[in-house]
């Protein structure tokens, strides 16, 4: 018994540090890279690895605000539809002769409005969970996208726009630079500002944080609006990469984004988790997909893997907790 007491007094323990979720994620990430490198000889190639990022980073823009949403104890499953609606409105306007610059702005506005509407409804109808509200808006947003574009595709964007998806600044893809900037902003927002502390407070106990003077409603609306805006940013990059858009783009994004966030160690009951975990998870899932794609694993098998990853990621911390309780 004695040594255990001593151990508890230590402020820093290597064991605890290494058992952190983020460190384990990093180890898993390395393991996946080693596995991929063994599976395919084409994997370890700097250009390939760099360009693979262009394929999965568009979702990552939504992961950043989704971390905030889930730390607040909420969830937003309408993000995929928000991406589709913003992209479709932009493409539709461009097709009707609106200049591309204006269409891009309107795309961002659309996402913002979609997100704001989610937040407003959630705050206005507190008895309804964010699950059901964003489920309804998920159907509505995609429904509007279908009404606008039916089953056609719209594209033919100017070259500077597709440059957004495929271009480089120096050796670095543009999308990576954008993601890095946004990631830094969101890390600072969550971990270094009062707003970030409030978001954690709301997630741990909404009632007590309201009584302590945190403006829960305003912050919720703000975070959901931010989610919509970032979904529109993702829509820009996705459309730029694909060259055209359809109402059914970004189907299932909500699953992948939520899987990345949960795998990143953000608790689904709110109040716990760090931004960096989710960012590692983005690269983990992204490169896992890329590697499995190289060895011709079917897309449907990937579906299963991501679904299982989501479930396992939520289950693991719970298992650990219960073991601690028993001990």
């Amino acid at each position: 018994m004695e040594p255990r007491v001593l151990e508890n007094r230590q402020s820093f323990s290597w064991r605890r540090y290494l058992l952190q979720w983020e460190v384990m994620l990093l180890a898993l990430f390395l393991a996946i890279n080693v596995m991929n490198a063994n599976l395919s000889e084409y994997y370890l190639d700097f250009t390939n690895l760099r360009d693979a990022m262009m394929g999965f980073l568009d979702k990552a823009f939504i992961v950043l605000p989704m971390v905030l949403v889930m730390i607040m104890g909420d969830i937003d499953i309408s993000v995929g539809s928000t991406v589709a609606l913003s992209a479709v409105i932009m493409a539709d306007l461009y097709r009707m002769g609106v200049p591309m610059e204006a269409a891009v702005v309107i795309c961002l506005l659309t996402g913002t409005v979609c997100g704001w509407l989610n937040g407003w409804l959630i705050v206005r109808f507190k008895e309804l969970s964010s699950v059901i509200i964003t489920l309804a808006t998920m159907i509505i947003y995609r429904g509007i996208a279908y009404i606008l574009l039916e089953d056609q595709a719209a594209g033919g964007f100017p070259s500077w726009f597709s440059h957004l998806g495929w271009g480089y600044i120096g050796p670095v893809p543009i999308i990576v630079i954008f993601f890095a900037v946004f990631a830094v902003i969101f890390i600072l927002l969550l971990h270094k500002t009062v707003l970030g502390r409030w978001i954690y407070a709301i997630g741990s106990n909404p009632t007590s944080s309201r009584y302590s003077g945190v403006q829960v409603d305003r912050i919720k609306i703000l975070v959901f609006t931010l989610t919509g805006l970032m979904a529109a940013v993702a829509a820009l990059f996705l459309t730029a990469r694909m060259g055209s858009t359809r109402p059914n783009i970004a189907t299932g994004y909500e699953l992948e984004v939520i899987a990345m966030v949960v795998l990143g160690g953000i608790s689904t009951s709110g109040g716990k988790g760090r931004m960096i975990g989710a960012i590692i998870a983005v690269f983990l899932i992204g490169y896992l997909r890329y590697g499995l794609g190289l060895i011709n694993v079917q897309a449907q098998a990937l579906l299963i893997i991501i679904g299982m990853l989501l479930i396992l990621a939520v289950m693991l911390p719970k298992l650990r907790l219960t073991r601690k309780k028993n001990a």
């Binding site: 489920l135 309804a136 159907i139 947003y141 279908y146 449907q300 299963i304 679904g307 989501l310």
Partner: protein
């Protein structure tokens, strides 16, 4: 009285006929006459559609409409139970596809198989799928949305993998199997009979058995239910298993009716089912829901899906309309609930 008010019992137990209840608010009327109102809305909608297109209210089309609604209404029963326990199940479209695909492949391999055996097999597969989700939700404590979102993709992926991306089409299925979804007994389609049986069984189950009542108890107040000795996690597990079983059976019926099993069968169908439930007055907050309401909700959804092409609305509007209906119904339920709560508070003051 008790059985009739099965769903709203949790809310209106206080509402005994006493003088204070003279001051009824609108919302308490809405709760009491919700089904009548929904029925009137359906009649009105039918009349409007009939004005636009006289071929809507013909015997053939009505028969068609009810047959198409049968599967939706069967699924809505299971979804109602899940939502009553404050959960949600997004995986049923995938479960339906998986069981439909496996049973279709089985009957195309063994054409001599009795269709009822195929149906039972589908139910069995569905029960397995549902048990996994129920286990995750009840024993592992996963949020229903996360568990079903994850398993939805697993089941959908399995469907593609098992079929290798191929379809099972009409000529590969024996006639006896297709009869399951297209045959008639006494001039009424089998699907309608099956839905009827499901509704009668469900009515008996939720209104007259202890377990059925416990589902409502767990939904309206999990804490109180646990304290009064109800094993809430078992109830949760049961509810998802029932949902899975119904989805599995519906998968076989679906495949038999449309005579084709595909990887993307019934993608997004769970949304129609959820819509039918919330339109029928099942409260997302748990504890409230009636079979009669759910049935009417399913019929309303069925009418909208059936009538849109008849009144020359493009099929692309369907999704948007469905979403708007879900949102409107959910918000209306919330507003009505507020009114009822306020009403109860007022009564308590006297």
């Amino acid at each position: 009285m008790k059985s009739d008010n099965a769903g709203t019992a949790a809310v209106t137990t206080v509402a005994s006929p006493e003088p204070a209840s003279r001051k009824r608010t609108i919302s308490s009327y809405v709760v009491r006459f919700r089904e009548v109102g929904l029925m009137m809305f359906i009649v009105l909608l039918c009349l409007l559609i009939q004005l636009r297109n006289p071929s809507f209210l013909t015997l053939d089309n009505i028969n068609d409409l009810i047959t198409n609604t049968a599967i939706l209404s069967i699924l809505a029963v299971g979804m109602m139970l899940v939502i009553i326990t404050r959960g949600i199940d997004l995986s049923i479209g995938a479960t339906l596809a998986l069981s439909g695909m496996i049973s279709a492949m089985t009957v195309s391999e063994y054409p001599g198989l009795h269709p009822l055996v195929a149906l039972l097999m589908g139910v069995g597969i569905g029960i397995l799928c549902g048990m996994v989700i129920g286990l995750l939700v009840s024993k592992m404590g996963l949020l229903p949305i996360i568990a079903t979102l994850g398993m939805m993709n697993v089941y959908r992926g399995l469907t593609y993998l098992i079929s290798n991306g191929r379809w099972v089409s009409a000529h590969q299925m024996p006639a006896s199997f297709k009869e399951l979804g297209t045959g008639t007994i006494l001039g009424v389609n089998n699907l309608i009979w099956i839905a009827l049986v499901v509704y009668l069984a469900a009515y008996y189950f939720i209104a007259h058995t202890r377990t059925g009542r416990q589902i409502y108890a767990v939904g309206s107040n999990p804490e109180a239910a646990r304290i009064s000795g109800i094993q809430a996690d078992r109830i949760l597990w049961l509810v998802y298993t029932i949902m899975g079983g119904l989805a599995g059976g519906a998968g076989v019926l679906w495949v038999a009716k449309f005579a084709s099993a595909q990887g993307d069968t019934a993608t997004g169908y769970e949304l129609s089912v959820i819509a039918a439930c919330v339109v029928g007055g099942v409260s997302i907050a748990g504890g409230v829901g009636k079979l009669s309401g759910v049935l009417l909700g399913a019929v309303l959804l069925g009418i909208i899906n059936n009538a849109l092409p008849l009144i020359n609305v493009s099929a692309f509007w369907q999704m948007g309309i469905q979403g708007a209906i879900i949102l409107a119904a959910v918000l209306m339920n919330a507003v009505i609930k507020r009114g009822v709560d306020r009403n109860n508070l007022m009564r308590r003051r006297i």
